[in-house]
Symmetry: C2
Subunit: 135 residues, 2 copies
């Protein structure tokens, strides 16, 4: 049998898996040092170990970084193999973050050209407002 290339790309290393599991089960974005604190019992002791796993997880699209918050959430968009087109809504009161998946929005942004006719390979969009609960 053996492991195909596709299978392999889905296999995370030990540290990557530990950190992904933590982020994936969190209802809210996690910060790097919060992650570090929470995985110390699993043997991950240093910031760099966390940042390396985060970098890789972002690279392969398993998680996204919320830039305005320096925090990370799991990708819940099944089509998201790479971190190249992301959109989030962020509640300015409770800090709840939701990944937006709107075909219309992603189509509009993927096709957006600036004045010079330049198209872009990647984007990140963060919307801010008040969530249902906080309104």
């Amino acid at each position: 049998m053996g492991i195909s290339k596709i299978d392999k790309m889905q296999n995370l290393s030990k540290n990557q898996q530990i950190i992904f599991d933590l982020i994936n089960k969190s209802p809210e974005p996690l910060k790097a040092y919060t992650i570090l604190f929470n995985v110390q019992k699993k043997g991950i002791k240093a910031p760099l170990q966390v940042y390396r796993a985060l970098d890789k997880l972002v690279e392969i699209g398993k998680i996204h970084k919320i830039e305005s918050r320096n925090a990370f959430i799991a990708c819940h968009n099944s089509s998201c193999q790479v971190a190249k087109a992301t959109a989030f809504s962020i509640c300015e009161i409770c800090e709840k973050v939701t990944e937006i998946s709107s075909a219309g929005l992603s189509k509009y942004l993927a096709n957006f050209k600036d004045k010079d006719g330049m198209k872009y390979s990647k984007y990140n969009l963060e919307f801010f407002g008040l969530c249902k609960k906080c309104r």
Copy 2:
């Protein structure tokens, strides 16, 4: 005569003016500690003095923060009184950043509603790609 409320809001304090001038004449986004280094000869000695001025300048829309780079650029969009609707293109090689002003884009995003019909009061969009020179 006196100074009206509108006039007052356009007047920057000493530190704010020094820091705005520096950012405004820079061809590229400046980081907080780069700013600090460059204004020390003008008597601004501590990080907090820089961050306070930056906070205010962002609040009144004179500058914008490029979240993915932790850097600041002057707003060149005359209609931008507040930092509530921003879009940038970022070259991944030379790190050149340009503020995008597209009526179509801002209209689309200002009117965007998510699945729950929620509208947002603010957004920030960062496009990534290669600029003309770097292609």
